[in-house]
Assembly symmetry: C2
Homo-oligomer: 433 residues x 2
């Protein structure tokens, strides 16, 4: 059995919210002196997502319309056995991967874009603003907004915008409006450009621009593609489906591996399994893989910091490299974020998640190995997970252990081929290795 | 039910060969005076595919290794109900589409690339040469060759090569070697370039180059992505799966719609249903949609012609615009071929297939309508089918008929976004409308 398919009816009926199960209390968001940011949240977020952000219910019912759209867009996604990769590595390990790349926008991001657009429309909002790194989130939100008949404005980190000429086209096909960030479209963007005209941009800056745009205009909300709890819980449809699929395959996972930027694909994939560990019912290992050039979990400090560069968001207790951190121009644009989901940060601090960092050259090598064997060209972000999977499978070869390794193929790389092209032609930017 | 999934076990065990069921005898391939080309076929084709080319058995067993690779690469592909499109059009018609875009290389082409690479490897061949228009075939053959551990050289029509900068990258990821055609890599390419240095290329020229490369080198075979019977029959896994899926959905199709270039996705999708019509057991309509700029079936003549520009292939009795025809630089590179599968040509001549031509602007409009409603960005080729589907669904709205329309989404357009980009920005090349 190479793929484990579920039927439309198997799309989960509830999202899983990890808040009530966390090991210890989650430090609350804080205001910075003189700037009462938490009070400004209702001005930029829909009621639906704000309720979910601080919810303590373990399970939250997925609205009928959202679940219906999940189905229309192809959920559940299949789980594949990576037989060809196993044979190539000659490993006794069994490798499975969840196919979030099979979403029409090519990544897991639609899982949160749909409900966010749904709740915004419910509040009568006319437009959503957002940031995007790699472009996966901006693409997904553009489609979701088109489905809900609201407008969408995307601020895309400039270096990614330049690396990925066709991201603009696909967002425009879905009706999205796109600005490279820093842009002249906001006061903060103008300020950054005045100081550094050729600034490569960062997710933190793009978030500041998107929030400013939302605050400055009537009937416009802001939408975030990662980091916050409501995003994480929307993504738990992934892990819930994987649980059902592994039961069908009669497998007990030994480790779950995912890449991390702000944390949303990792959380959505792993939380339903981490719950079992928190309940004392599992020995599964959880490995979060990040780029060595943006080592939030492995080298950041666990402290209060802003989610954006300008300081418009509340202070969040999280691993962070500092809100003014500008990551080098590596190609995994979705992983170039200075901070990390507060819940993932806490779970890492408490030892439930093992962070790991990898270098850009070795991840592209892993991506090509995967593409040639399994056929799918993974997103540069997802290759970080694949590099760790290959390392673990090789360890199994040495020890002879028949471990079950499951990873989340968070997206495909068909719109992000510049990095592969440079790697093949030995033209990749150096990142320390 | 929005998607009808089959399990790995449901991958067909046999290919369907339409030869014995054709209405009347198929005119055989002919030699041109002084050029006994049929005798040269064994020099460039594997034994396996040559046998299939002229086979009279109705069903041909799919080799175990090929069927296994079909499964590994995700077959069977799902059949989707286009509910959102139906609602948008407010039509009583029921629209279904086969998801060949979900193949790892993004199109149906892998269905023939895998067996062609398999039979070549079986004959001890070290390298396959081929042509590619849009790039879908070259991508699929690059992956299939990588799976069989043989090399792959692709001659890509120059205008498509220029329109699609990332096609090169993806073929190289899979290990393929790519030349824009006409190229300086072959004598014929050099000749064309000497006469017309800025020649945009054509599939006919690219085929000539690929055949010359195969003839000139030891242990090198040539591989064709469409037109010939063995390619058509490999593709019948599509239609056989659709039959099973429509039975599950309890649907009897009123019409099947597909785009046509050389004919392979259309044949693979429709032949198992055309068989029923040939047997007198079906009233289904079959609509083959081509670009108005390359109107092979609608304006070509049914006569003997070469499959390539130089005249290296045997003469085939088919609809053709002439082997020196150079189609305008429209973006559906996969449909810019002067000829057509001899079997499809005969079936069209005999009235079993209804040909139709559509304009480039209207197909991109249809493609965007589909992308915004169903989520998937279709390949420029597939949008031709979608334009006809929308037309038929609108007719149903007028007449109130609840017809069941099924079409083949032969591929996605994520590597072919230049045309969409130009359409959105009103920069599309004029094609007569």
């Amino acid at each position: 059995m190479y793929k484990i398919e579920l039927s439309s009816d198997d799309v989960p009926k509830k999202w899983y919210n990890i808040n009530p199960d966390l090991p210890g209390e989650l430090p609350p968001p804080m205001n910075s002196e003189g700037k009462n940011q938490i009070e400004s949240l209702p001005q930029i977020f829909s009621k639906g997502v704000l309720e979910q952000e601080f919810a303590q219910e373990r399970y939250i019912t997925i609205p009928k319309k959202v679940r219906d759209l999940y189905m229309r867009m192809g959920r559940p996604s299949p789980l594949f056995r990576a037989k060809a990769l196993e044979e190539l590595l000659n490993t006794p390990a069994k490798i499975y991967y969840k196919r979030e790349d099979m979403s029409p926008t090519g990544s897991h991001k639609l899982n949160s874009a749909i409900p966010q657009a749904y709740y915004a429309q419910k509040d009568g909002v006319e437009r959503l603003t957002t940031e995007t790194g790699a472009g996966q989130w901006g693409t997904a939100l553009s489609l979701a907004c088109s489905q809900m008949d609201i407008d969408c404005t995307v601020y895309m980190v400039k270096v990614s915008f330049d690396q990925k000429p066709f991201r603009k086209a696909i967002m425009e096909i879905y009706g999205g409006e796109l600005y490279p960030s820093p842009s002249a479209h906001t006061e903060f963007g103008k300020k950054v450009l005045a100081e550094t005209p050729d600034h490569p941009g960062s997710l933190g800056i793009a978030i500041s621009e998107a929030i400013e745009d939302a605050l400055a205009n009537e009937n416009v909300y802001y939408s975030l593609g990662s980091v916050l709890n409501h995003v994480m819980l929307h993504q738990t449809v992934i892990g819930q489906e994987v649980k059902t699929q592994l039961e069908i395959a009669e497998e007990e996972p030994d480790m779950l591996i995912g890449c991390v930027g702000g944390g949303s694909n990792f959380a959505g994939f792993s939380y339903p399994f981490i719950k079992d560990k928190l309940d004392g019912n599992s020995d599964c290992k959880f490995i979060a893989v990040e780029p060595s050039t943006c080592p939030t979990l492995t080298k950041g400090s666990y402290d209060y910091d802003f989610g954006d560069t300008e300081g418009l968001t509340p202070l969040l207790k999280m691993f962070s490299l500092g809100h003014d951190f500008v990551a080098p121009s590596v190609h995994a644009g979705g992983l170039r974020y200075h901070g990390m989901s507060p819940q993932i940060s806490l779970l890492t601090k408490e030892g439930y998640i093992e962070p790991r960092s990898v270098h850009q050259n070795e991840v592209f090598k892993a991506g090509i190995t995967f593409a040639k064997s399994e056929g799918v060209v993974p997103a540069p972000e997802s290759t970080h997970a694949i590099k760790a999977v290959i390392d673990e499978a090789k360890k199994c070869k040495e020890t002879g252990e028949e471990k079950t390794i499951v990873f989340n193929l968070s997206g495909h790389g068909l719109l992000d081929l510049t990095g592969y092209d440079k790697y093949i032609h030995n033209d990749l930017e150096v990142d320390g290795k």
